[in-house]
């Protein structure tokens, strides 16, 4: 299997037609790099081709939410709960739970997802697949 860090960076660079130095581990895919949903699909298809790790767009939400039910991850106004914030910090270590609890909307979580978060997700999936 290709080196995951390199494979993810290459997928992002090619799908978004960016220069390599524009893509850092800390770059958020949507806000910093301007990825749209069709671009996310492109990135995930490219990663599957180079690493063999299959990730669907819907899996990103699963990974971020970590199996926590929707009504526990966010409240009735779709704002992240304390439990949701704690999970976010596990899936996306750059997130400060105190900053997002009670303020961040569930729909906005994906905007914080970085290149490094995607690398970590691919590695987690690859490890799970090999047992």
């Amino acid at each position: 299997m290709a080196d995951v860090d390199s494979a993810v960076k290459e997928a992002v660079v090619e799908a978004l037609a960016l220069d390599e130095d524009e893509v850092t581990p800390e770059s958020t895919l949507m806000d910093d790099l301007g990825a749209e949903s069709i671009d996310l699909l492109d990135i995930l298809f490219r990663i599957e081709k180079s690493t063999g790790v299959k990730i669907e767009a819907s899996d990103l939400g699963d990974y971020i939410q970590g199996g926590i039910p929707d009504d526990e991850f966010s409240d009735e106004n779709e704002v992240i709960t304390a439990k949701g914030a704690e999970q976010l910090a596990k899936a996306m270590p750059q997130v400060d739970p105190a900053e997002v609890e009670g303020t961040l909307k569930a729909e906005e979580v994906i905007t914080l997802f970085t290149v490094q978060n995607l690398v970590d997700m691919v590695k987690t999936r690859a490890a799970a697949a090999t047992g």
């Binding site: 949903s37 069709i38 996310l40 298809f45 767009a57 819907s58 990103l60 939410q65 729909e107």
Partner: protein, 127 residues
């Protein structure tokens, strides 16, 4: 309300002629409806835009466990598009009391646009 615009050539680039990729994004009925049509990828792009427009109208985008195939564009005999929901998107709609969902699609010169309008029993995160 949700609106989305998609370039047909971008959809063609991403799904190419890979059947597995096509089926990850579009339902069998959607693929069958568009297959062999002149400007097939404009038709597919319009359906992709509709899926995005619906998810935007729901206020969820791709942030939850929603699959693109959970939002299906079907055409009535008149040609009018109608949305059928499945999976996590249908669950979200039921949980938030979706009353009405209408969608309009258009495409020309390699560009597709879709607009979705929803009404709900209860307030929703829709933007």
């Amino acid at each position: 309300m949700g609106v989305d615009v998609v370039r047909a050539d971008r959809v063609q680039d991403v799904i190419a002629d890979d059947e597995q990729r096509r089926r990850a994004v579009f339902t069998a009925r959607e693929l069958e409806h568009c297959r062999g049509r002149r400007r097939e990828y404009e038709h597919l792009a319009a359906r992709f835009a509709a899926k995005e427009a619906v998810l935007k109208a729901f206020g969820t985008g791709v942030s939850r466990r929603m699959r693109f195939t959970d939002v299906e564009v079907v055409n009535e005999r008149s040609g009018r598009p109608r949305i059928e929901l499945g999976g996590a998107v249908a669950e979200f709609a039921e949980g938030h009391g979706l009353q009405q969902l209408d969608v309009s699609l258009t495409h020309t010169d390699g560009l597709a646009v879709a607009m979705a309008i929803t009404t709900w029993e209860r307030p929703c995160a829709s933007t």
